[in-house]
Symmetry: C2
Subunit: 210 residues, 2 copies
């Protein structure tokens, strides 16, 4: 197992190579060179692609390139997709539906095992095959199942409270999709995606250009 | 009109203050001090909140604080919410549904006027009141209506092609919600939100901690 921290940009690019390699294999190809791969990634320098693939530990062969099947397996192993971490999702709204329906989700190596909501209208339903449970059961289940990850898609006003409950339930990482900057104890990992903040920035840049 | 670029963190925080102010007003309050506001934002220093509000040009009164109504109006004007930019959305999937149903969207001052998709199953339907049109009509309509913003929620493999079409249609800014790093001409504004990349980073950090 790799213990050195891998640079984030590489972690972000590997799933993109993976998708392209899947497409190449589906179209009948068995091997691929970094030169060919580079054509699909005009934003990444071929040397960088070579370095990125090297972190998975796989070697290409001169003039032949990489076996696509081996490369796919190496990326899967490297990113621990075959050793998934479990997550609970809080806030069973339309963003939850979008996330749970996206093939990008399982590729991150994270498996959502249950969703939680306060709304009686949602409790007992399913989103993309994932059961929606009452928030009353959240801490108890999370602790019993030792779930390490909380995915936060609740409304902004409830975000800090949900995060506090995740921390109390022993969760070590929170994927925060609300606009709120969460306050969490040191050591708790938070990745924050503030969707509309980036759109607001875009709008502002556009107006400044005028 | 403000022409100096405003620091992005301020642009990201103002909509959060706005939400809280709305809640305060709904609960019957007419004025607010930065001290009270600070309680709702444990992650922002009160001095910073004061500075943030100052960019909108509004003045608080000693011992009284801000008129909530005036402050809401000042933020609206400052962020040009009352002077919306129009956008076309490409890719009418579940992420589009989540975005179009989120009150955060209009607060960014950006108004989605139409959605586009290739799928005959989706063309002619509506998402949250927004009509889904065929991609065949995209460039023509975008140019005729002088739409400045493209919102990209298409699948990754189609992303660069859609972005090229947005640029050709004269769009000046792209909100990219795909995993693809787009290649665009200089001067085109791109804000990229790579959802699952941040989740992959979270998963990796979690495993490194173990």
């Amino acid at each position: 197992m790799h213990t050195d921290p891998i640079p984030e940009p590489i972690l972000r690019r590997l799933p993109r190579y993976y998708d392209t390699l899947k497409h190449l294999r589906a179209s009948g190809q068995e091997t691929v060179s970094t030169t060919v791969l580079a054509e699909a990634f005009p934003d990444v320098h071929p040397t960088q692609i070579r370095k990125d693939l090297a972190v998975t530990g796989i070697q290409g062969r001169p003039k032949v390139g990489f076996s696509i099947t081996d490369l796919l397996a190496a990326i899967e192993t490297f990113l621990h997709w075959n050793n998934q971490s479990e997550a609970f999702l809080v806030g069973a709204g339309s963003l939850a539906t979008a996330l749970l329906g996206d093939p990008g989700l399982w590729q991150t190596g994270i498996k959502v095992v249950a969703a939680f909501d306060n709304s009686p209208r949602k409790i007992g339903t399913e989103i993309r095959g994932i059961r929606v449970l009452s928030m009353d059961k959240f801490e108890n289940l999370a602790r019993r199942m030792r779930i390490p990850i909380g995915i936060l898609t609740a409304p902004g006003f409830a975000a800090q409270d949900c995060a506090d409950r995740m921390v109390k339930a022993g969760m070590r990482a929170i994927w925060n999709l609300t606009p709120v900057n969460l306050v969490v104890p040191e050591g708790t990992i938070v990745e924050h995606v503030d969707l509309f903040a980036s759109l607001a920035v875009l709008g502002r840049k556009l107006r400044e250009q005028q």
